[in-house]
C-alpha cells in the first residue's frame, strides 16, 4: 500500500534531510513554521533558520539579501501571503535581479478548507507565472515533492513551490522510471482518446477519473504537470497530436495558471485541438471541511470526468 502524506509534510522532511548536504541552504518563515513544516529544518539547524514574524514583505527582501551573499534561501508562508501579499517584493527584489530564492507557499488552493476564502489562494500559479524568469512548481505527492526539493536546491534561480495541506495518496512512487525533472511533465498513464494534464493534488483525482472512464471505454492519458512554468510544451503538443483533446486540471483559478499556459501553447501551435480547463471557475472559495469545499467546486474525479466528456464532445 502506498504512502499517504501531505506534500508539506514530505517537504519538511526533505528540507531538513538536505540541510547537511547543502550548507548554504537557509530557511525563513513568517510565524507559520509549524504549518509550512519548515520547523523540522529549524529544529535541526537553528542558526540557519530565521523567523521574521508576521512580515512577509520583509521576509522576501531579507531572502533576497541573503541570496546576494551566496546563500540558498527558501522562504515560507501560506501561498496567499508568500505569493500574494509579497508579490511585488518577489517581483522586484527576487525575480528582477534573478536571485536564487525559492518562494514556498503552503496551503495552496481551496483545500485550506475551514479558514475560508481569505486563506484559499487560487491565484498563486497565475501571479507567479506572470513574473519573468520565475519557475512555478507544484508536485502532486510526497515522493515527487522530495525529489522537487533537491531539484530546486540545484536550480540556480527564482522559483515558486506550492505545498498542499491535505494528506494525499502517493501515485508517482510505483511508476517504473519515474523521475522528477524541472520543466518536464511525466506521463503517469497512457490513453488514446483524451489527455488530462493535471498539477498538484488534481493528479490523483485525474488518475481516479481515468480509471472510471476506462470502464466506459474511454482511454485517458494522464500527465503530471508538476512544473507549470517553464511549461513542457513538447509533452503538451505530443498529447494534443496523439489524443486530439486536452483537459487541464488544477486546484486554482482557471485564469492564468496551468490551463491558460496549455491554451497559450496549443493555440500557438496551430493544432485544432480543444482544451477544457478544469479548476476554480473565477469565483472565491468558502469555508468548509476541505473535501467538502473541493466537492462543492467540482475539484474531484467526478468534476474531471465531466470535463473529459466536454472535451470529447468538442473533439467531435
Amino acid at each position: 500500500m502506498s504512502e499517504t502524506i501531505a506534500t508539506r509534510a514530505a517537504y519538511g522532511q526533505a528540507l531538513a534531510a538536505l540541510g547537511e548536504e547543502y550548507p548554504d541552504l537557509v530557511v525563513l518563515d513568517a510565524d507559520l513554521s509549524g504549518s509550512t513544516m519548515s520547523k523540522q529544518f529549524a529544529d535541526a539547524y537553528p542558526h540557519r533558520f530565521f523567523n521574521v514574524g508576521i512580515a512577509e514583505a520583509n521576509m522576501t527582501g531579507i531572502a533576497a539579501g541573503l541570496a546576494t551573499c551566496g546563500k540558498r534561501p527558501f522562504l515560507h508562508s501560506f501561498a496567499m501571503f508568500a505569493a500574494g501579499r509579497a508579490w511585488e517584493q518577489v517581483r522586484n527584489s527576487i525575480a528582477y535581479p534573478r536571485l536564487n530564492v525559492k518562494v514556498v507557499g503552503s496551503h495552496g488552493g481551496l483545500s485550506v478548507g475551514e479558514d475560508g476564502a481569505t486563506h484559499q489562494c487560487i491565484e498563486d500559479y497565475a501571479i507567479m507565472r506572470a513574473i519573468p524568469g520565475m519557475a512555478v512548481v507544484s508536485p502532486c505527492d510526497g515522493p515527487s515533492m522530495r525529489l522537487a526539493v533537491r531539484a530546486l536546491l540545484d536550480y540556480d534561480g527564482p522559483a515558486y513551490l506550492r505545498l498542499g495541506r491535505l494528506a494525499v495518496e502517493s501515485v508517482t512512487d510505483g511508476i517504473p522510471g519515474y523521475r522528477f525533472e524541472l520543466g518536464r511533465g511525466f506521463q503517469l498513464r497512457e490513453g488514446r482518446d483524451v489527455t488530462v494534464l493535471a498539477t498538484g493534488m488534481m493528479v490523483q483525482e485525474a488518475l481516479q477519473a481515468a480509471q472510471a472512464l476506462d470502464a466506459e471505454g474511454i482511454g485517458v492519458r494522464v500527465i503530471d504537470m508538476h512544473t507549470i512554468k517553464p511549461l513542457d510544451e513538447e509533452i503538451v503538443l505530443k498529447a494534443a497530436r496523439e489524443t486530439g483533446a486536452l483537459v487541464t486540471s488544477e486546484e486554482a483559478t482557471v485564469l492564468g495558471g496551468l490551463g491558460s499556459a496549455v491554451c497559450e501553447c496549443v493555440a500557438g501551435s496551430g493544432l485544432p485541438v480543444p482544451v477544457v480547463r478544469h479548476g476554480v471557475q473565477d469565483v472565491f472559495g468558502r469555508s468548509g471541511a476541505a473535501r467538502d469545499v473541493l466537492a462543492a467546486y467540482g475539484l474531484t474525479a467526478d468534476g474531471i470526468r465531466e470535463s473529459v466528456k466536454r472535451a470529447l464532445a468538442l473533439k467531435g
Partner: protein, 299 residues
C-alpha cells in the same frame, strides 16, 4: 580623502548627475543631491571595497533603498573607479545599461537592485545576517529617504534588524523633509524619527548630512556600536548644491530645461574650480559651505 577632496568629489558627482539627467531628460536630482555628501564620504573614506574586485565576499555593502537616486550613486561609483565616467552618458538610454533605478546585474559596484521603496532595507538586513552567519566582518549600509520610511516594510525590517542584533548594519535616512507631493510633514508626518527608530531598538545618530566631519563621526560611531543596528538621521537639503533646486519638492524627479541646465552647470563648475585650489587658498575655504540652506529640523 581630505574634506576639501570630499567636497570636490561630491561637486564633480553633482555635475555628472546633472549631465546624466539633462541628457536623459528624466531622473531624480533633488534627493540625489541631498544624499551626495553622505554617499561620497561612505564610498571614499568609510567602506572597505575594491573597485577591481566588486564581488569580493568580504567587502562592505551598500544598498540604495531610495533607488531612484542613481544620479548620486552612479557618479559616486564611477568616481570611485568601478566604471569609466564616460558610461554615465548611457543613463536611462535604451542603448545603455545604466537603468533609471539602481540595478545590480549590469552596473558594476551595485550590490542590490532597488527602486520600489521600502524594499532595499530588507535586503540589507539579509546581507547583514549572511555576514554574521559566515563570520565575515563586513558592514552593510542602506540609505533611505525620509519619505520612504512611510512604507510599512521599513519598520518590518527595523524590527528584524533589532531582533537579530545586526550591529554590522547601518541605515542612513536622508532627512531632506520633502517628498514628491510636498513636505513630508504634510504628506505623511513621520516625525519624531529619532524616537521611532530608538523604540524599534536601533542606536540613533543625528547628523548634519552636509558636514563632512559630522558625517565621518557618525559613521565611526555606528561602527563602534555593539549588539544593535545603527541609524544615522542625516539632516539634509533637497537639491543641495544648486541654488534654485535647494529646498524644492518640485526638483524631486524633474529634468532641467536648457536654461536651468546652464545655470546649474555654471554653479557646480564654479564650486569645482574653487575647490580645485590648493588647500588654504581663500577660494577653497569658502567653497564647501557656500550657499547652504538649513535643512528641516527632525526633532
Amino acid at each position: 580623502m581630505t574634506h576639501q577632496e570630499l567636497a570636490l568629489t561630491a561637486a564633480r558627482a553633482r555635475l555628472l548627475g546633472l549631465e546624466m539627467v539633462y541628457r536623459a531628460a528624466s531622473g531624480h536630482l533633488g534627493g540625489s543631491y541631498s544624499a551626495l555628501d553622505l554617499l561620497t564620504v561612505l564610498y571614499q573614506n568609510v567602506m572597505r571595497v575594491d573597485p577591481q574586485d566588486p564581488q569580493a565576499p568580504g567587502r562592505d555593502r551598500f544598498v540604495l533603498s531610495k533607488g531612484h537616486c542613481t544620479p548620486a550613486l552612479y557618479p559616486t561609483l564611477a568616481l570611485r573607479g568601478y566604471f569609466p565616467v564616460d558610461e554615465l552618458g548611457q543613463f536611462r538610454s535604451i542603448r545603455g545599461h545604466l537603468s533609471g533605478h539602481a540595478e545590480m546585474r549590469h552596473v558594476r559596484g551595485v550590490d542590490m537592485s532597488t527602486g520600489s521603496l521600502g524594499q532595499g532595507v530588507s535586503a540589507a538586513v539579509g546581507m547583514a545576517l549572511a555576514g554574521k552567519l559566515d563570520g565575515l566582518g563586513y558592514r552593510v549600509y542602506a540609505m533611505l529617504g525620509d519619505g520612504e520610511v512611510e512604507e510599512g516594510q521599513v519598520w518590518e525590517a527595523a524590527m528584524a534588524a533589532a531582533k537579530f542584533q545586526l550591529d554590522n548594519l547601518c541605515a542612513i535616512v536622508d532627512v531632506n523633509g520633502l517628498q514628491i507631493d510636498g513636505p513630508t510633514a504634510e504628506v505623511m508626518p513621520s516625525e519624531p524619527l529619532d524616537q521611532k527608530w530608538a523604540a524599534f531598538g536601533w542606536h540613533v545618530i543625528p547628523c548634519d548630512g552636509h558636514d563632512y566631519a559630522a558625517i565621518e563621526a557618525a559613521y565611526a560611531q555606528a561602527a563602534a556600536v555593539r549588539g544593535q543596528p545603527s541609524v544615522i538621521l542625516a539632516r539634509t537639503v533637497k537639491g543641495k548644491g544648486v541654488s534654485f533646486m535647494e529646498g524644492s519638492a518640485g526638483w524631486h524627479g524633474k529634468a532641467p530645461n536648457d536654461q536651468q541646465y546652464q545655470q546649474a552647470k555654471a554653479e557646480l563648475e564654479g564650486q569645482i574650480a574653487a575647490l580645485s585650489q590648493p588647500a588654504g587658498q581663500p577660494g577653497a575655504a569658502q567653497a564647501a559651505p557656500a550657499e547652504r540652506k538649513e535643512g528641516k529640523a527632525y526633532v
